[in-house]
């Protein structure tokens, strides 16, 4: 079976006030693959991720042109439910962001919002999500302790579990390992490999090496423009654009 594009981005322009931060961007993201969008600071990678679940709507004065199709439907169409969209396209932030409540309540936060679920169903969803995020064994005996008492790596896996509990289709990860130690980073990268069987994953890695390790495809961005996009091994070994090669080999950035 040939992979289908899950997300198609067409001619995306994104402005903060008058400043253009994403320029004429076209990109196709395949189902059940990991795409790493990388580039130096201020390249627009975070913004690009945030356009995909419309979290960028929260920024005052921001403005978007073009379209983003999720399963062929423009997510900026007027009849789209933004809350519904954000359940389908979950997001993990660059710093672990447990809410000040218990481990269980953090993971149950999303499922409870949709209010259709019974208590037993929520318990089941929480356990499944924590297992998928490879956190269950570490926390199963203390689900009611505050999430802020977990270590940084555990907190970030909790945030991943919290997104998984939404039963999303796409997961966006914005530099998910930037504040974590190498061991936690490895754990998260491993779990991503398992997760892509069920989800489409877009990650903004915190360095080039991580892009190389985890991604099936990579997209290199510079100053808001997409410079190059392709299969990871091909881009890393044979970049068609000189700037991509320079960045990957560490000559700048």
């Amino acid at each position: 079976m040939t992979p289908q594009p899950k997300i198609i981005i067409r001619k995306l322009n994104f402005y903060y006030q008058k400043k253009l931060v994403i320029r004429e961007l076209n990109l196709e993201i395949l189902s059940n693959e990991i795409l790493a969008v990388f580039g130096p600071a201020n390249s627009g990678t975070t913004t690009l991720l945030r356009t995909m679940n419309r979290l960028c709507d929260l920024i005052p004065g921001a403005h978007l042109e073009g379209e983003i199709l999720l399963d062929g439907k423009n997510i900026y169409a007027p009849d789209i439910s933004v809350t519904e969209l954000r359940r389908r396209v979950g997001m993990v932030f660059d710093v672990p962001t447990p809410l000040p409540m218990s481990i269980f309540e953090n993971v149950a936060y999303g499922p409870r919002l949709s209010s259709m679920k019974t208590k037993a169903a929520v318990v089941e969803v929480v356990e499944r999500a924590l297992r998928m995020a490879v956190l269950w064994d570490e926390v199963k005996d203390r689900l009611n302790t505050p999430a802020l008492r977990l270590s940084g790596g555990q907190q970030q896996r909790l945030c991943i579990a919290r997104v998984l509990a939404l039963e999303p289709e796409v997961i966006l990860l914005d530099r998910p390992c930037s504040g974590l130690d190498p061991v936690s980073t490895v754990k998260i990268e491993e779990s991503l490999q398992q997760l892509k069987e069920h989800f489409t994953i877009v990650i903004a890695p915190h360095n080039v090496q991580q892009a190389g390790r985890v991604a099936d495809q990579v997209a290199f961005m510079l100053m808001g423009s997409l410079i190059e996009h392709g299969i990871t091994a091909e881009v890393f070994e044979n970049p068609t654009d000189k700037r991509t090669g320079d960045y990957i080999t560490g000559r700048f950035g």
Partner: protein
């Protein structure tokens, strides 16, 4: 004259320690003095009977009930209005002319002497709305009086909630209202509670505004439309008219104990709530 860093450091330390020490001693001295003078008047009769003979004998039960009722009306009215306004200012609108007008009015209201609120309450609630001297008039007047405090403290409490909490809630598919009730309010609650506690303290202690609106009847209030006398007003009348200094101090002591009690209970409630998340 130049002072070396070491000496300025030492002087600063002494000055700061002594200011704190002075303030604590002063506050404790006042509380202890009143308690010492007043505790002798506290006995079962004092707590369980209504005043007789203008307060020369009997107890002060009706004034305790009056205080609690007036304060309850004020808090029940002012809390939703104040907290709602604070949420409007922080979550539902951007900085602009409207927010500036609301903030400016709230700040101006906060600086007005309470007797002016009393006069307003007398003219508006007592006479114009024909509520008479009553628990309701007094409570509503106090509600207007503490509104700015509650708006201000709630607003600050809401602003200290990290915006990340909101982003997380939105990113998990929360609506604005779900985000406010489930992610913002739990974190802002201790701060909001402080505003309400401050408001309670001001209501319990208020004299000028209540005497003009709730009256000074010694009967037990039986409804929201009964006139009543609060403890602070009772204390004021006892002391000013020279009815009984001993009983005035007794009332003051009970007032202080009541305020301490409210603070302790409120703190326990807030801490219990906060402890769940940390």
């Amino acid at each position: 004259m130049r002072v070396s860093a070491r000496i300025s450091q030492r002087i600063a330390k002494i000055v700061i320690w002594s200011t704190a020490f002075f303030v604590i001693v002063l506050l404790l001295a006042i509380i202890i003095y009143i308690l010492l003078k007043g505790v002798s008047a506290l006995n079962w009769q004092f707590l369980s009977e209504i005043p007789r003979d203008m307060g020369r004998s009997g107890g002060i039960l009706s004034t305790v009930v009056g205080t609690l009722l007036v304060t309850a009306v004020a808090i029940v009215v002012a809390t939703p209005l104040g907290v709602g306004t604070a949420f409007y200012l922080t979550e539902y609108t951007r900085e602009g002319r409207v927010t500036r007008i609301i903030r400016f009015s709230a700040e101006s209201l906060a600086g007005i002497p309470s007797i002016v609120y009393g006069l307003f309450g007398f003219i508006f609630f007592v006479i114009y709305l024909k509520l008479g001297w009553s628990v309701l008039s007094g409570g509503l007047t106090l509600a207007v009086m503490i509104l700015p405090t509650i708006i201000r403290t709630s607003e600050e409490a809401i602003l200290t909630v990290p915006s990340l909490y909101r982003e997380v809630s939105f990113s998990l598919g929360g609506t604005k209202w779900q985000t406010i009730t489930k992610a913002v309010i739990p974190s802002a609650l201790p701060g909001i509670a402080i505003g309400i506690i401050l408001g309670i303290g001001r209501c319990v202690a208020e004299t000028a505004a209540v005497i003009l609106t709730a009256g000074s009847a010694l009967r037990m209030p039986i409804s929201l439309f009964s006139p009543t006398r609060t403890m602070a007003v009772h204390f004021y009348i006892l002391a000013r008219e020279g009815i009984s200094m001993e009983r005035a101090y007794g009332t003051a002591a009970l007032l202080i104990i009541l305020i301490l009690l409210i603070n302790v209970v409120a703190n326990i409630l807030v801490n219990r709530f906060v402890a769940r998340g940390r």
